[in-house]
Amino acid sequence: MAKRVVIDPITRIEGHLRVEVVLDDNNKIVDAYSSSTLWRGIEVIVKGRDPRDAGFMTGRICGVCTYSHYKAGIVAVEDALGIEPPLNAKLVRTLLDYSLFYHDHIVHFYQLHALDWVDIFSALEADPIKASEEAFKYVPKGYNPIATGADELKEVQKRVASFAKKGDLGPFKNAYFGHKTMRFTPEQNLIALSHYLKNLEIQRIAAQAMAVFGGKNPHPQSLTVGGVTCIMDLQDPSRLGEYLTKFKQLAEWTNRAYYADIVMAAEAYRNEPSVTQKNNLGNYITYKTMQTGKNSFLFDACGYIKDFDLGKFYEIDESKIEEDVTHSWYKDTGFRHPYNGETIPEYTGYVDGESIDGKGDVVHTKVVNPKGKYSWIKSPRYNQEPMEVGPLACMVVNYAKGNERVRKVVDEFLAKTNLPVEALFTTLGRTAARMLQTKVIADYGIEAFNNLVENLKVDQSTVSPYKIDKNKEYKGRFIGDVPRGMLSHWCRIKNGVIENWQAVVPSTWNAGPVDGNGKKGAYEHNLIGMKIEDPTKPLEVIRNIHSYDPCIACAVHVMDVKGKKLGEFRVDPLYGSC
């Protein structure tokens, strides 16, 4: 008899997400549904406003990959108005991107994802001396491990032990520790636990790195349509030095901890089927990101691969990006290009059903209606095909295109872990790809900084001038990869104000419901076939979902009310013209 397991909330993510899986008698997943439970409506709010304000508002789509939507909102308007920002501005934006990717990826792995892999209480049984020796095995050539000296590890044990003794585990309460699919030895758990704690300190450095040229983090505030505002910081060598130091500290951490821990996970988990099962969806799409010089990008592929085939790279045709809402809580039929997005909310809720609770009893709960609508997330498609986005897509598509830096980093990792290239197309591979993307930044990203310093010697400009003609209609977009994958913002400007705004965000590609053609997105598709040890503790599902680094608040901002009055946009007559 088929059993249904509802996981709501999926915690340690950004936003509100429910996942439901249907299990057969052997606890194998035969069907899966991903449903977001919050809708905020930011695009409709942006309409009718000054296009120069859009970036600040779209920035609030997400406070985790904070900066992604801010930049996208600014660049989409620049694209519409035909503005080419000065090279300095472009490179500063890249430096902000680096700090964002560093921050997002390390916080994701240590603070959000690690508890799916690491058993904190097993670490208490470890031998710290053995653990400190073992840590040397995993670092890349030429590096020493960090935060794993025997004394340091003893302190970590002591600290956590006394916390545990207090009798209330606070945020670690009721976790899946001791789960059969947890594969680290006590020593490996201790290494990872020490890094979990240390990363709380390191992530502050990444945030500071963003604040140097961004003013603050989260939600930096130094971009403007046409360029950047941090001209004083750029003309101050000590400020440049501050950034450089932080960049290097983060690069060190990437090599000495993050890289090493993923190698360690690859070794320990290679025989755990739930993380090495090959994905079902073999399509991956990415867009170039991180400009490092006049015409160079760290990740330069704008394309996709199909059916896991790394031998064939396809270029993107932007007109083939569309969204469908057949199973999303919006009115509409068919696929639509984002420039013509049309969606009216139509909440139909969940239906009454039965599922297994945390004790294994069958109980009445709400469940998704697979025949109807069941999520606030739309289903973006490329040429009507579902695609996976994210660091894994970025790595494999750049690999297929022949990006040499990506190839080098990926090949070295596969050699070190003795894994075949197919291992990339798994939960483990997805988690590894996020680290590998960080490693490419750590190893080669500094080029953008150096080019900025060179360019500042001859050119101090930070903003390009422009004019908005109220009698003209404009349209433009931003496309690029952000920490969770390919992001695009599409805007139309009319009468000097925003007429339409659509954001096709990474998590919608991955987390969207089944589309009108019956094709499932990455979350749902890739869960099918996975076996669960214990339906009351579905850690395998959570680990898989976390490996995408879900960003659900970002996925559910979407709405475009066509033909509906958008409210009054009071324009004060005293506001000056530009």
Partner: protein, 377 residues
């Protein structure tokens, strides 16, 4: 005043001492076991006292209060938000977030960092509500959608709406802190035309709510407010919008590093110009510092690394009610009549208006001329 405060604090500590701890050990024991020296601890207490605007005579009392603070469990509820406020909390360094969790507060539920998920997470939630009824510190991040019964946000296998869950949780709370502009005033989702009917949480609750606005608020303001509740056992002194005065008592403009240029009439006219290179005042490119009550110009962000004005961008007024509508456009000056309608601290406002009108005559004239040129704008 100080004596009364001291007295209040001491009473509070005695009261707390009588409460059952959540564990058998006190923070002090834990600290000692962890090798955190008394000296380090006092150093921390001193910085905390300074942040809360207390004199050094309070340092030992702050330390004492922190030692009993684990008796106060914290529950963090996410509503309609972007998680920026939680991210901001993560950046705290005095105390650092691990110190906060391991030593100073008893974090019962926070879905961005907790280990449990699904049914196990739900269980933790309900347990916290029952076990700590009446003395939970409830921190809410995000606005609450109210339109159509609140259907724009649901939680858990039974799909309870955010509105119901918030109300139910507030029942068990001893203090409620609205973290961020979203939960304080509705935030971005409440901007016109507010498609989900999002509001600040105080609109749907009948208990006092302390507002810690900002998009996001700095880690200092979040942690400082939580600690205030712990230290004093009461809600801090607040302004008309229920914002703690220790953090929101002054305008950004009052302590801004560019203030001298404002008073001298030296302005950035366009981003990237020579005024920008020289650090002139950003008022004409939209700075809302004169209308915004917050401590960014004093505390800055990310361990004092920077703040928007230092990075050459004006303040957008993110700690003010409805700022997404009231402060737009973000890169142009507001019309002067905005000042008349704002309803924060009345005296401070008057002072602000005077300064603005004196130094800002030229700006007002500029705005009026522009308006004449293009009345349709």
């Amino acid at each position: 005043m100080n004596d009364a405060l001291m007295q209040k604090m001491k009473e509070r500590i005695n009261e707390l001492r009588k409460l059952p701890g959540v564990g058998s050990k006190t923070i002090k024991d834990v600290l000692e076991e962890n090798g955190i020296s008394r000296r380090d601890f006092l150093k921390w207490s001193a910085s905390m006292a300074a942040m809360l605007g207390l004199s050094s005579s309070f340092v030992p009392v702050v330390a004492e209060a922190a030692e009993v603070s684990d008796r106060l469990p914290v529950l963090w509820l996410h509503l309609a938000e972007c998680t920026g406020c939680s991210e901001s909390l993560l950046r705290t360094d005095t105390p650092s977030v691990d110190d906060l969790i391991f030593n100073y507060i008893n974090l019962q539920y926070h879905d961005t960092i907790m280990a449990a998920a699904g049914w196990q997470a739900e269980e933790n939630y309900e347990e916290a509500l029952n076990k700590f009824k009446g003395r939970l510190i409830l921190c809410v991040e995000g606005g609450v959608p109210t339109k159509d019964g609140g259907e724009y946000l649901t939680f858990g296998p039974h799909a309870e709406t955010g509105l119901e869950k918030l109300k139910r949780t507030a029942e068990a709370a001893g203090a409620i802190i609205a973290v961020g502009t979203c939960s304080a005033f509705g935030g971005i989702q409440a901007a016109a035309p507010n498609p989900t009917g999002a509001v600040g949480i105080h609109k749907v609750l009948n208990k006092p709510v302390i507002n810690v606005p900002g998009c996001p608020p700095s880690a200092k303001n979040i942690v400082g407010t939580i600690l205030y509740v712990i230290l004093f056992g009461a809600l801090p002194a607040v302004d008309n919008f229920n914002r703690p005065k220790f953090a929101y008592g002054l305008r950004i403009h009052d302590l801004c590093e560019r203030r001298g240029h404002f008073d001298a009439g030296e302005f950035v006219e366009e981003f990237g110009d020579t005024g920008a290179e020289n650090g002139f005042c950003l008022y004409k490119v939209g700075c809302k510092g004169p209308y915004t009550f917050n401590n960014c110009s004093r505390e800055r962000f990310n361990q004092h690394t920077s703040w928007p004005v230092q990075a050459g961008h004006g303040c957008i007024g993110c700690s003010e009610p409805d700022f997404w509508d009231a402060m737009k456009p973000y890169e142009k000056p507001l019309a002067d009549n905005y000042l008349a309608s704002i309803d924060a601290d009345a005296t401070a406002d008057k002072i602000g208006i005077t300064i603005l009108t004196v130094a800002g005559v030229a700006i007002a004239a500029h705005a009026a001329i522009s308006a004449m040129k293009n009345p349709k704008e």
